[in-house]
């Protein structure tokens, strides 16, 4: 059986059609878009077309609201730092405890510089409390930055509603939408979202290309200054091949968005149902009823994620885990901790994330091997005996921690 890739929230395969449109920009139209000669005369047109393709996918009003960047992380840093530089008197930022490190690390740094960071907690299903959010909004807040969909659980936050609330309070609103764009339909011109981050490689474009959507009229300060590229809002020679590739990827994403929400979703649902029915002591994390169609994150209790991934990898299946060991960090995923998932489960979370390249037969293959993998590791676990966890696991095995 061919290897099975179920780690599409980490990154995706570049679509063949995307590679095809990129090649001429390496070999023929390789001129600098700013140059006046025939090696460059098609580039500006290519970039303009790509901008319109991105515009169509996210439903923004003007194509000039699209700023091409080098990645989702750059878009996030640009958005946050722009908001505070443009409003130097406001010293507070509202975010959540479950954001990507590309947001949290920037906020941590700003906290050291004297900013007040409000990190909103989530409940056990990963949901925010909007009444508490309302109370945090004030004229002291420079920016609200809240992810559209969580990378680990797929849980969707009500960003449109939250942007309305921020707007009513006169507060700028940014959303890290790298997981959401291309997976769920959006129409930004109908929202009050001021800034939004996109990452190309999450939707079958290459790595190293991103977008910052900047609503017309939003006060802005560039992160990178230099040439006049992107209307002076992001200096640096345009990554023309990747921009054109991202445009094509957005066009395809729009074409497949229904497929994503029907057929891809059906694959995810079948896998999730099959695993939770066949394997005892496992559960789905996040908000079951308000999630990305392609993501499921399942906690397998009493075993550890990296071990599961190694055995899955041996069976030719790629997924990822929220366990501490896979990242070399101290703690299991901050998202699992924020949802108060017990630690014997948080370490055993496995995220399966689909794309339009997956198939039902792949789902069946995972369903075939996963029960044995879990059983094999549970046999090694001090929390497990025979066919069930030991009685009162936390007491039966209470090691000395060092």
């Amino acid at each position: 059986m061919k290897d099975i890739y179920l780690d599409n929230n980490a990154t995706t395969k570049v679509d063949h059609a995307v590679v095809d449109v990129m090649i001429p920009y390496f070999l023929e139209q390789y001129g600098n878009p700013s140059s006046i000669h025939k090696f460059a005369d098609g580039v500006a047109k290519g970039l303009k077309h790509a901008r319109q393709q991105v515009q169509a996918l996210i439903g923004c009003e003007h194509d000039s609201e699209i700023i091409f960047t080098s990645c989702g992380t750059e878009s996030n840093s640009t958005a946050i730092l722009s908001a505070i530089k443009a409003q130097p008197n406001k010293k507070e930022i509202i975010t959540t405890t479950v954001e990507h490190p590309a947001i949290l690390s920037v906020c941590d740094m700003l906290e050291k510089e004297g900013y007040t960071i409000h990190r909103m907690p989530v409940d056990k299903a990963g949901r925010l409390n909007l009444a508490a959010y309302q109370k945090l909004l004030s004229d002291q807040v420079a920016l609200v930055t809240v992810m559209w969909a969580n990378n680990e659980t797929g849980t969707i936050f009500p960003v449109a509603e939250m942007a309305d609330m921020a707007n009513a309070a006169g507060v700028m609103f940014h959303t890290d939408a790298v997981q959401a764009v291309g997976k769920i339909p959006m129409m930004l011109q109908d929202t009050k979202i001021d800034m939004l981050s996109i990452s190309g490689h999450k939707l079958h474009a290459p790595k190293g290309i991103g977008v910052l959507y900047l609503r017309r009229g939003t006060r802005y300060r560039p992160l990178l200054r230099g040439g006049h590229q992107e209307r002076g809002r992001r200096a640096g020679t345009e990554n023309s091949a990747s921009i054109v590739g991202l445009g094509k990827a957005c066009e395809l994403a729009l074409e497949y968005i229904e497929y994503e929400n029907t057929i891809v979703k059906a694959m995810r649902d079948r896998l999730e149902k099959g695993l939770t029915e066949q394997i005892p002591h496992c559960f789905v994390t996040g908000d079951m009823y308000n999630r990305l169609p392609n993501t499921t994150d399942i906690a397998f209790e009493y075993i550890e994620g990296e071990s599961i991934l190694m055995l899955l990898n041996k069976a030719g299946i790629a997924a990822s885990s929220g366990s501490a060991c896979t990242s070399g960090s101290l703690e299991p995923s901050h998202v699992m901790r924020a949802m108060d998932i017990p630690y014997t489960a948080a370490h055993g979370t496995i995220r399966f994330s689909f794309s339009r390249y997956n198939s039902m037969s792949e789902v069946d293959e995972v369903l075939k091997v996963m029960p044995d993998i879990v059983a094999k590791l549970r046999k090694l676990s001090p929390y497990w005996e025979g066919d069930a966890p030991v009685a009162d696991p936390e007491k039966a095995f209470a090691p000395t921690y060092a």
């Binding site: 550890e304 990296e306 190694m310 041996k314 046999k379 000395t400 060092a402």
Partner: protein, 301 residues
């Protein structure tokens, strides 16, 4: 994904002695706070000879934790308790043909479980002698708790101090921001302020840089001075270095004590070379003395 050795994979995919030993008379249960892994080691010890007849493990943890547990049981079977007590985490890592620096604590957990099981057999209670923190320096596997303790104990003020006392930050230097953060935190607790431009707390290695070309004798003396200045840091780890020969710009050294055969020896030698070049102001190559023979042979030939 980690770059695990074949040996680690072998022990992970086909673990030896998995499960609890029936009628065990020694049990050790420990966990590593640094990644949430935990291990129960059960032994069956012959009461007369104190020989470990059987060993079994149950591990909640990652690939290298399971492999470390498995290889540990293989190492200690047939040993007496006294022999087993001498098994170090380095022995476990060596048997696995090495572990990534972030995963060395898995081998530490194995050693601790063994110590705990031996204590349990002897009716004692095992007490852990060190606390483990977040890994800061990946080149030399130094964690935050170790750095904090050294900063407190030795009144360290700068990143250079921390490197002199713990080796942390002496390799690729990528962790210097994290070390500064620790200094900031500890100094704040002491009511002081971190100043990145402060002079090192003491200057054991402050040997004036050389401006003019050196004679061979001067070079050897200078190298000895630099090695002397680095010695305390090595000895803190139970190791040492001796200068064997200097030929041209190549210094041949012997790494002794714990440095001998240590996985970090190559990194340490690179660090020594870096320090020598800084002080001598010329290119110096540091080579293990074991390589000297090859060179002589080439010259003879």
């Amino acid at each position: 994904m980690w770059d695990y050795s074949d040996k680690v994979k072998e022990h992970f995919f086909n673990p030896k002695n998995a499960g609890a030993v029936v009628d065990a008379n020694a049990t050790g249960e420990v966990g590593s706070i640094s990644c949430g892994d935990a291990l129960r080691l059960t032994l069956k010890v012959d009461d007369d000879s104190e020989i470990i007849l059987e060993a079994g493990f149950q591990t909640f943890g990652c690939g290298s934790a399971i492999a470390s547990s498995s290889v540990l049981t293989e190492i200690i079977k047939g040993m007496t308790l006294d022999e087993a007590a001498k098994v170090t985490n380095q022995d476990i890592a060596d048997q696995l043909e090495g572990l990534p620096p972030e995963k060395m604590h898995c081998s530490v957990m194995g050693r601790e479980a063994l110590q705990a099981a031996i204590a349990n057999y002897r009716g004692e209670v095992w007490k852990d002698d060190h606390e483990e923190g977040a890994l800061i320096c990946k080149c030399f596997a130094i964690d935050a708790v170790m750095i904090e303790e050294m900063v407190w104990a030795n009144k360290l003020r700068t990143v250079e101090d921390v490197t002199n006392f713990t080796k942390a930050g002496g390799g690729c230097a990528a962790c210097h921001e994290d070390i500064e953060a620790i200094l900031e935190k500890v100094l704040a607790e002491k009511g002081e302020k971190f100043d990145p431009t402060a002079a090192p707390v003491e200057a054991p290695a402050k040997i004036a840089a050389v401006k003019v070309p050196l004679t061979n004798l001067q070079r050897i003396k200078k190298i000895e001075m630099v090695l002397d200045s680095l010695r305390p840091a090595l000895m803190a780890d139970g190791g040492d270095v001796e200068l064997v020969e200097v030929i041209g710009n190549t210094a041949y050294v012997n790494m002794t004590g714990a440095c001998n055969g240590c996985q970090m020896a190559a990194m340490t030698i690179a660090g020594i070379q870096q320090r020598l070049m800084e002080v001598m102001g010329e290119f110096i190559k540091v080579v293990p003395a074991s390589e000297m023979k090859k060179l002589v042979n080439i010259e003879v030939a």
